[in-house]
């Protein structure tokens, strides 16, 4: 029996919303009853939390392995305290059949040092015309279904896919964005976008998207999660749906929680994400919605892009940012700003995503897998993008002062990262 114990750490327990000094014992890869007889490591008063469960990260296999592979994504995740990756199907080709899903699972199993689960496309080729083989894909291990940013525009197709998914108890992930209004947009409408003359979209496009999706949820009774809410305008509809008792949750990306449209400054393409960065008022509203529990999950929305895709004029540059390794220190900005407590943060980073996607982990309860993150929230550093483990280095936090470092990451009791 393999066992170890970490003593004298602040245990962050999102289930009970507590932080207490204590010890944790791991036996056979599971969290066990505290047992002082097993070999003990001194935790030196640092912080221990359930490892991050990151939903919606993109690993570029199959198709664009030069941007990110399962191997590099696993190393980056471990270094960032992410113990479970739930990957997106917007690869090339899209993961829309049991065969492509099995390929990705096999690659993940062979090369990725953290837990990996796959999401599959909702429609074939993410084209919005025919639904995928949802049942087969579930059998192959798909934990959720999404066309990512390719919004299904034909509501007839969507309603059938949602009804079918609902019957199978499948979780569907929506991207609330009206595709017509947001077409070609690279910024949020307003004075800043107009001065920089970047094609922009009103946040009303997101409200249109979420209101449509929620109406479809009400019609079909499907389990629904909105991948990214980024605007204050979207919140009333979400609150109403939750009040009605619809099976609905919502996420927010770390970038929309910690950056705003002005960060784009002089056309810095590393700040181009989808949906575009919003106003400071919207950012504050996202933080408040997270604190109140209206928004459930924080994701990295890790989207690797190579230099070629970003070294272009802002409008032409690809969207997305890598974030596996910056997720924790960026999220800790909200803790240091006294806007969210550590248990609140780890509810959104670990517990809620695990529960919503039906995955083990996200908790320090006995019998749960020992997916753990040991960190020091206070150590300051300046981020150097070239030191990231991701193959792509497109982070908006390059050169920024951050606070909080991962000391060690464990997956099922195995140490996968140590500083």
């Amino acid at each position: 029996m393999k066992a170890f114990r970490i003593s004298n750490v602040h245990l962050i327990d999102p289930e009970n919303q507590t932080v207490n000094i204590g010890n944790i014992t791991v036996k056979d890869g599971l969290i066990a009853v505290d047992d002082a007889s097993v070999p003990t490591i001194d935790g030196k008063n640092k912080y221990l939390a359930p490892g991050i469960v990151d939903v919606g990260a993109k690993v570029c296999e199959p198709g664009e392995r030069h941007k990110e592979s399962f191997r590099s994504a696993g190393v980056a995740a471990a270094a960032g305290g992410v113990t479970t990756l739930v990957t997106r199907p917007d690869t090339q080709p899209a993961i829309d059949s049991p065969e492509t899903l099995e390929f990705a699972s096999r690659r993940a199993l062979a090369a990725c040092i953290v837990n990996t689960y796959q999401m599959a496309a909702l429609t074939k080729g993410r084209l919005g015309r025919e639904m995928t083989e949802i049942s087969f894909l579930q059998d192959a291990g798909a934990v959720a279904f999404t066309d990512c940013d390719a919004v299904v525009t034909d509501t007839k197709v969507l309603s059938r896919a949602l009804t079918y998914a609902s019957q199978l108890g499948a979780l569907v992930i929506g991207h609330p964005q009206d595709p017509g209004l947001s077409k070609g947009a690279a910024a949020t409408s307003g004075k800043f976008a107009s001065l920089r003359a970047i094609p922009a979209v009103s946040t009303m496009a997101e409200r249109l998207g979420i209101e449509r999706d929620l109406a479809m949820v009400e019609m079909t009774n499907v389990k629904y999660h909105a991948d990214q809410i980024s605007s204050e305008l979207s919140l009333p509809a979400l609150a109403q749906a939750k009040q009605k008792g619809l099976d609905v949750t919502a996420g927010v990306s770390i970038h929309h929680l910690t950056l705003n449209e002005f960060d784009v400054a002089d056309y810095r393409s590393f700040f181009k994400v989808k949906p575009p960065l919003r106003s400071e008022a919207d950012r504050q509203a996202m933080v408040a919605a997270l604190a109140s529990g209206l928004i459930d999950i924080i994701s990295s929305m890790h989207t690797p892009q190579d230099e070629e895709s970003k070294r272009l004029p802002y409008e032409q540059a690809a969207s997305g940012a890598v974030a596996l390794e910056t997720l924790l220190p960026a999220a800790l900005r909200l803790y240091h700003a006294e806007q969210l407590s550590l248990p609140q943060l780890f509810s959104a980073l670990s517990l809620n995503p695990a529960k919503r996607f039906g995955l083990p982990g996200g908790t320090l309860a006995e019998g749960a897998p020992a997916d753990l993150l040991l960190f020091d929230p206070d150590v300051p550093f300046v981020l150097d993008r070239f030191k990231l483990n991701s193959k792509s280095k497109n982070t908006p936090f390059d050169g920024q002062k951050m606070q909080g470092i991962v000391l060690a990451t464990f997956v099922a009791g195995q140490k996968v990262y140590e500083r």
Partner: protein
């Protein structure tokens, strides 16, 4: 003053604007004489990179450079490696290795010229980037206004038409605002950028109301090629409501001047009779001032560059 590049009016202060205009005024007078050539830019290599088609602006920059004695090269961007998928930054680095002194760049995307300027060692002049800025156009407009009105402050200036898609409008709003003029923006609401109420200009959707007592009427080209949706129902409805004709112009001051950055769409945004009426229209003078302003800018940038080089060699 130590200008390295001319990327936008945003980065100029009123004093710098006046200095540029003073020098341009000198060149404008000199250009009308027989001895209009000089050697201020002798030994300098000027490369014109137009990623977007342009005849007049490119010709204006070419003549300005040649009058000052620069070696001018026009890069045929249509046939270049950009078409083969090379990124703008790689193109910039390749060019930079050939040590030009001055790049004149026009690009269809906002911010592209800024990006290029970050990657090269030579001076860069923005000849128009997307819908963002067109600084030499705003400067030549300012010089034209100053010469015909005798001043460049406390004037009522109307900018009419497709404000949303116009880099000329953006640069002019910034420049004329910095020089303390009152700016009115006139056009249909679909052609106004978002957040326009925070620009420090008055917005009118009725042309007659907007033109009342203005000193300067600036018309914009209706950028049909830029529109990816339908912003106006038809050209004829646009002409009826926003085309400048004698009737609408009568609301402006009797000595108001009419400007247009060209090329004009007669019968869409401007009536042919107004455009060609030399007592009101200063459109030809704008073209003339264009060469003078570009000479002044390039002269200043090259002088600063030589000073910097000297300072570095010391």
């Amino acid at each position: 003053m130590q200008l390295q590049h001319l990327l936008g009016i945003e980065f100029l202060n009123p004093q710098q604007i006046n200095e540029i205009l003073d020098l341009a005024d000198h060149y404008a007078n000199k250009n009308r004489t027989a001895s209009h050539n000089s050697n201020a830019l002798a030994g300098c290599t000027q490369v014109n990179m137009f990623f977007e088609n342009s005849t007049r602006t490119q010709a204006s920059f070419e003549i300005a450079g040649k009058r000052l004695g620069a070696s001018v090269m026009n890069m045929p961007m249509e046939a270049s490696s950009i078409k083969k998928g090379e990124t703008l930054v790689d193109t910039a680095l390749t060019l930079n290795a050939m040590h030009p002194d001055l790049l004149v760049v026009r690009h269809p995307h906002s911010g592209a010229v800024d990006l290029l300027a970050q990657k090269v060692n030579c001076a860069v002049v923005n000849a128009g980037d997307g819908r963002h800025e067109h600084p030499t156009q705003a400067l030549l407009d300012a010089l034209t206004i100053r010469r015909s009105k005798g001043r460049l402050h406390r004037l009522n200036i109307a900018i009419c038409g497709d404000i949303a898609h116009s880099r000329v409008a953006r640069s002019n709003i910034i420049l004329l605002g910095k020089m303390e003029n009152r700016i009115r923006l006139i056009g249909p609401v679909t052609l106004m950028p978002s957040g326009i109420s925070e620009f420090g200009a008055e917005v009118y959707h009725d042309m007659e109301e907007g033109l009342k007592d203005v000193d300067v009427v600036m018309m914009l080209r209706l950028q049909r090629e830029r529109m990816d949706g339908s912003f106006i129902p038809s050209e004829r409805e646009y002409y009826h409501r926003y085309g400048l004709d004698a009737g609408k112009l009568s609301y402006a001051k009797p000595d108001a001047i009419v400007m247009h950055p060209g090329p004009m769409n007669r019968g869409i945004e401007i009536d042919g009779d107004i455009a060609d009426d030399l007592s009101r229209s200063v459109i030809q003078e704008q073209v003339e001032m264009g060469v003078a302003v570009r000479m002044a800018i390039m002269d200043i940038l090259m002088r600063n560059r030589m000073q910097n080089n000297k300072a570095m060699n010391k």
